[in-house]
Symmetry: C2
């Protein structure tokens, strides 16, 4: 197995810089769009052979250092009885927004066996790739999941979520407890199925400030990470827009902290401490540019992270849908060549 990603998570020296990209198996790939012509996202997620095929694509095409399992962060919520649909260009739309304690209490208890298709997809991806690279499993973070449930979908201002958070104690705490238990069990299940690295995607947590994160989120994220880490599988803790809360996120846990492009990654790494790894942080929009621009920005990330073990090259958020695939190929090659230590 090409294990430089796992080594970097453990802050061991690697032959070159490991790289994978969030949403590396997505709409920007013609091979993916072809599969999507015949199957919707949920069908792909629920069919291990299809999910594995999609998850493997970027490894085969670009030699990235990991496959990330093709799944949607809403999937495990289905087993709690949440009904939602994925709308193209919008995201998840939840049928019944959560606003009351009764609704929280009427959620079913999480049953990992109902996510067996994800675990099977992990096994199938490993088989398909002959264990040539690690498979990354992931879960949404409790705040991010709560925000979808309370807003009913994506949000700009998270007004409802914060309304519940600030205002009605037990709705928030019981919901966050339920989601934390779910996320940790889901991550554990993925580790048991053979995921060699885990990522907690708390994508929208950057809408909070330090005090808010500390009071309303940190205890739950910490519980998730602690339980998931009992598996011995290293965990990457990622959020977008987290310049103001990096220290708190690190306090919640994670072997590696994932940061977006807004922060200077060297400063971010200093702030979270070199006793952890750091992941990131090329601006995804850079991949819409020409080779020279891509190289210049990638070189900057490599330079800022040189000298310490534990950097995982990634974008600051997911690959944009209109990214030319050849630019991804170019980036991966460049990072592997220039990142050789």
């Amino acid at each position: 197995m090409r294990d430089r990603l796992i080594k970097a998570c453990r802050r061991q020296r690697t032959d070159t810089r490991p790289i994978w990209l969030m949403r590396q198996a997505g709409r920007y790939l013609p091979e993916y769009r072809k599969i999507r012509e015949r199957y919707d996202v949920m069908t792909i997620c629920r069919t291990p052979e299809l999910a594995a095929m999609v998850s493997s694509l970027p490894v085969e095409l670009f030699e990235v250092d990991a496959a990330v399992i093709f799944a949607d962060i809403m999937l495990p919520l289905e087993s709690l009885g949440v009904r939602f649909r994925l709308e193209d260009g919008v995201g998840p739309v939840v049928a019944d927004r959560i606003s009351s304690l009764d609704q929280v209490r009427s959620l079913s208890s999480f049953e990992p066996s109902r996510l067996s298709f994800v675990f099977d997809a992990i096994k199938e991806t490993r088989r398909l790739l002959n264990d040539s690279v690690p498979v990354i499993g992931f879960s949404g973070g409790p705040f991010t999941l709560a925000s979808y449930l309370i807003e009913g979908g994506p949000s700009r201002d998270f007004a409802r979520t914060k309304g519940v958070m600030f205002g009605r104690g037990r709705v928030w705490t019981e919901l966050m407890e339920r989601l934390s238990e779910m996320a940790s069990a889901y991550l554990q299940g993925q580790a048991r199925a053979g995921a060699k690295v885990l990522q907690l995607f708390d994508s929208w947590v950057g809408s909070l400030n330090e005090a808010e994160y500390r009071e309303y989120v940190l205890p739950y994220s910490r519980a998730v990470i602690r339980k998931a880490s009992e598996t011995g599988v290293p965990l990457i803790h990622f959020g977008v827009d987290t310049a103001a809360i990096l220290e708190c996120m690190a306090e919640a846990g994670g072997d590696v902290i994932g940061v977006d492009w807004r922060v200077n990654i060297d400063e971010a790494w200093r702030r979270v401490g070199h006793d952890r790894g750091i992941q990131g942080n090329l601006d995804p929009a850079v991949l819409l540019s020409e080779t020279a621009t891509i190289r210049r920005h990638a070189e900057d990330v490599l330079r800022r992270t040189a000298g310490f073990p534990g950097h995982i090259f990634n974008l600051g958020h997911g690959v944009l849908p209109n990214t030319p695939p050849e630019n991804v190929k170019e980036l991966v090659e460049y990072v592997h060549v220039k990142g050789a230590t």
Copy 2:
């Protein structure tokens, strides 16, 4: 005139903490919604009597320390020949997205006299309020305006904008030059019409990192601020989500730097330097909560900004549409009582 806002901009001591709120004259007010039943936003903007009436509402209702002129940041673009409409719940939608140098060069030159209705609205607001508080004039920042023109409307990832920014030199530089000239002339016109404080709203500049801001935005924002400041009117330089670029924004200029709720305002102030004022930064979502929560969060902002002259109390972004007006009243009273030095 109750001039504590102007004094704070100049870092002079004030009797109590000045407060105004971005979007204080907006959809959350039943009085505003009533006017909106009869007139659309553009009609209100273009009718000085209506714009003045709306601008004055929060001063009359809540005794905030300034009226901010009711206008849309897209208004001056109309005089460049840009066609757009304001869509409820979406924002501005531009008819022809800008992507080519020809399009940039075919923009008309900015003619301040075509914005006379804004200048008249400022005069009318002063008259209506008997000059009891200063009127704030504002303009969108060059980056934010460019993003609307290039994306064709609001954006999550600013992919097109950054594509132009990274990729095609003259499209970006000429567009930014045009927008800078426009913004500075527009701000100067508002100052001449009697605005006593100006704000440069570069709302979306927080989608950039330090290097990007420095290379592609800073020179233009600096030019705008320098020219607008020739009027002698103090200027507030505001952006959302700017935790990673605060020093650069301060470098671009502004007597006061406006920050959102994500940053701790005491740290933000230290970073931009106490030789400037700071504006902010209550999370707008806090105003959806109960009095005790509002007071607790407001007290925290007051505490973090105590001891230095030059703090202007505000939200970290605009008032949310579902904010109860009585909570705004409560906040203003609380800040005036607790902020007395």
